[in-house]
Amino acid sequence: MTKFILGRKGRMSQMYTEAGEVVPVTILEVGPCYVTRVLSVDSDGYDAIQVGYEKTREKVLSKAEVGHCKKAGLEPLRHLRELRLKAPAELAVGAEIKADVFEVGDMVDVVGTTKGRGFAGGIKRYGFGGGPMTHGGMCRRFPGSLGAGSDPGRVFKGKRAPGHYGDARFTMKNLKVVGIDVEHNLLIVKGAVPGASGGLIQVCRAKTAKIKASS
């Protein structure tokens, strides 16, 4: 079973275990997705499937994109993503992927785009300690020293400094699937997922999970 689906982040919520413990969960709206292309070692050098999500109007996409979907015998799909496979794909072009590819208890990785934080300082971006707030300290949120003096005589590359933060691809690994609603295309995972509500996400089988879900 190819465990891969595209969707949008719904919102966070909470549920209770029977013992009354609160479990923080994220509700994801996933699929239905369609296989738009099957890539193989022979033709592309690697095995993969390309999956499309969210039907849209032809006008929204370029002619090339519309044609690509048409070739697969599908309506125009807004988002296309590839999943690399280790073995030749089991799914054929046009196959539908719904939330039921996952089971409750599966471990999944969720890829999304984190919230953009603009030009952020070292404290927010890298967790710098900052200067003292009191006792006459005037360097409240400063980045501090950039390095030694005339030896080396330069700032090392990769020195953590203020700059653009967020709005970047991020993978949240090893989230547990705690609920599925195939009818409403919902997938419930324990924990947080990158990005804002409504952001595009990819869900796939956890690559590094200790308890490997049967594939």
């Binding site: 949008r8 919520s13 909470q14």
Partner: protein, 129 residues
């Protein structure tokens, strides 16, 4: 970007799904009410029910996360407990007495002692019950 209508519809879908984590009905608890909250507690493998009696001073959260804060005075010391309304540990909530208050959060009670901590009783509660 999807249009507004679609998104609202989606939010409603999430709320619908959340209902399965919620109790079917909640007691009509309002701010200022004096309540008996029956809580399940584990005691050495055995489960029993403990009653926590006090005044509802706050209600917060939505959906499955909705919770009330109950305040009571124990041996001269103020004790507050937050009860998630949909938690399976909260067995039942009984309203003992309706309170007549004009605020959504009764945090001012924390600064009061003795007789001043009393909340006026709502006499005309007919419409609410």
């Amino acid at each position: 970007m999807r249009c507004q209508g679609q998104h609202e519809e989606a939010m409603d879908k999430f709320s619908q799904f959340e209902k399965q984590w919620m109790k079917d009905s909640l007691p009509a608890v309002e701010i200022g009410d004096t309540v008996d909250v029956a809580v399940k507690i584990q005691e050495g493998g055995k489960e029993r029910i403990q009653i926590f009696n006090g005044t509802v001073i706050a209600r917060r959260g939505r959906g499955p996360a909705e919770a009330i804060t109950v305040r009571r005075i124990v041996q001269g010391e103020g004790v507050e407990r937050v009860f998630p309304l949909h938690s399976p540990k909260v067995e039942s909530i009984n309203v003992v007495r309706r309170g007549d208050v004009r605020r959504a959060k009764l945090y001012y009670l924390r600064d009061r002692v003795g007789k001043a901590t009393r909340v006026r009783e709502k006499i005309d509660a007919g419409g609410k019950n």
